[in-house]
């Protein structure tokens, strides 16, 4: 039986990056993907930062199915009726200058899979890895039902739901408090309608993020991404908060879509797809053991996600980790050593690139983002304040500070705002 240099479980961003890195270096690679095709099980909000992808596939936007680049970034606080937004329009004129790219996972990953195959790796789809093959403590391959596949190293890139990471004793089960649930609708709209409603043209795209009533004040938010001829509209909420408050994300997304600030954006659009996914959001606090004898783990399966409220990085980390895993295996092959003492190199690489550094820097962010005032009191305060300023009751106006103080009454104290600002400074 053939022994592969590496078997990669899962053809998402982490798995494809690892497979591509190794195949390009001439290693004998097998990728096992449980979906009918690459990308079939993959779903996300919408956009990634470009540098890692560009390192892997220089100039990828020229041939990959990229929807749009990020030109406008809108952050909004919303209450049931009102919405206050910060609208940032940035300078990039086209894909080659863009910091961020909007893509749809199922379409984009299929393309990435084709690049991996071009580089010489074998991708076998429709195959669910059910277990490992062990030789003593060392993993020497995987089982797909009754079939065995042998390899020097297994790279686990099978996503947030990885059952294999537990079987490899790299981690226990994730907890609901450390997970966010994202639900999304892809809604078809003609290109001209998107351009008119969102004030963009050509390849320009928009991301809108909403905080407040869209999650009933629970940790999370709403989002809208513009694709070429559709919108991605969704809500992300902490899973444990849904359970504790007996709220369904399927109801939240309907309410979000009906908000007076949101409905005009997708009006008359046609629903194409409804999807859902979990995101591991507690960063370094939930990160498992990253390697053992004959195995490495990368991407969502290893909780490599960073959420600071303003930044959400997952795919970028996954790809960077995939590359690091690939380079580690290449070096391990040179040494002929696939034990954990050799694969330890993987963790060193992640510590020296941005993945673990960023997760360390924002170690406190996940806890900070559980503060209910961010999703409740502050959106109410911001919208209430604007409402008061722009309201005239025919009587003499009061000075703005008085209006501010009155808006805060019963919602939040000055002391709390100061304390939250201090915590934000430390966490973010």
């Amino acid at each position: 039986m053939d022994i592969f240099d590496a078997i990669i479980v899962g053809a998402g961003p982490a798995g494809c990056a690892a497979a591509y890195t190794m195949a390009k270096a001439g290693l004998n690679i097998l990728v096992l993907e449980r979906g009918q095709y690459v990308g079939a099980k993959n779903m996300w909000g919408g956009a990634f930062f470009g540098p890692v992808m560009n390192e892997l596939f220089p100039g990828f936007w020229k041939e990959a199915p990229v929807e749009r680049f990020l030109k406008r970034h809108v952050i909004s606080f919303m209450t049931k009726e009102d919405c206050l937004s910060i609208d940032f329009k940035s300078s990039p004129g086209d894909f080659d200058e863009a910091p961020g790219f909007v893509i749809m996972r199922a379409k984009f990953d299929r393309w990435m899979g084709s690049k991996v195959e071009e580089a010489g790796a074998i991708i076998a789809t429709g195959l669910e890895v059910t277990d490992f093959i062990f030789e003593g403590n060392r993993i020497t391959g995987v089982k797909v039902g009754d079939e065995d596949f042998l390899a020097n190293v297994v790279v686990l890139a099978d996503g947030v739901n990885s059952l294999l990471a537990t079987k490899a004793k790299l981690r226990g089960d994730f907890k609901a408090v450390d997970l966010k649930q994202g639900v999304k609708e892809v809604i078809r709209l003609p290109r001209e309608v998107i351009e008119d409603r969102f004030g963009v043209s050509g390849n320009e795209g928009v991301v809108m993020e909403f905080v407040g009533s869209c999650t009933h004040g629970l940790p999370g938010g709403g989002f809208i991404y513009t694709n070429q001829e559709s919108l991605s509209v969704g809500v992300v909420v902490q899973l444990s908060a849904l359970l504790e408050n007996k709220v369904k994300a399927s109801d939240l997304i309907d309410e979000f879509k009906e908000h007076p600030a949101v409905r005009p954006l997708w009006r008359n659009g046609e629903l194409l797809e409804y999807s859902a996914h979990l995101i591991p959001v507690s960063g370094i606090n939930m990160m498992p053991k990253l390697y053992a004898d004959g195995i490495l783990v990368a991407g969502d399966s290893a909780a490599m996600v960073l959420g600071t409220g303003l930044i959400l990085e997952g795919a970028n980390f996954a790809m960077a980790a995939g590359i690091a895993a690939g380079e580690t295996v290449i070096k391990a092959k040179e040494k002929g050593d696939f034990t954990s003492s050799s694969l330890n190199d993987y963790e060193q690489r992640l510590k020296s690139n941005f993945v673990i550094k960023d997760l360390e820097t924002f170690r406190r962010a996940p806890h900070f983002l559980e503060n209910p005032r961010i999703y409740n009191a502050y959106p109410e305060l911001a919208c209430g304040l604007m409402g008061s300023i722009f309201h005239s009751d025919g009587k003499p106006r009061r000075n703005t500070l008085e209006v501010v103080m009155e808006s805060m009454k019963g919602k939040v104290s000055l002391w709390q705002i100061a304390a939250d600002a201090m915590k934000a400074r430390k966490a973010l």
Partner: protein, 90 residues
């Protein structure tokens, strides 16, 4: 739009084998019934008689029920390779 109509827009290749097993006895004894709020596809439905029924056909394989139920009622695995939801957009 009802959840069934939304799910009808998705492409599924539904396996004959049920991939998520719900222990009926434990489910009946459970009071919190968090599965009702965990599942974004509303595969878990509370019936008038007070018990929960589960249907796997609309499962989006997100894993939320698996990480939510703390009673050990749900035996969760993926559908067999190639089956289940097939996202066209993602």
């Amino acid at each position: 739009m009802k959840i069934e109509e939304k799910l009808a827009r998705n492409k599924f290749d539904i396996d004959r084998e049920v991939h998520i097993q719900v222990d009926e006895e434990k489910c009946k004894a459970c009071e919190s019934k968090v599965c009702l709020y965990a599942c974004p596809a509303e595969c878990y439905v509370l019936r008038a008689e007070g018990h929960v029924t589960f249907s796997y056909e609309g499962c989006l394989e997100c894993g939320s029920c698996r990480f939510s139920c703390d009673k050990g009622t749900i035996a969760w695995v993926n559908p067999r390779g190639g089956f289940g939801v097939c996202y066209q957009y993602g």
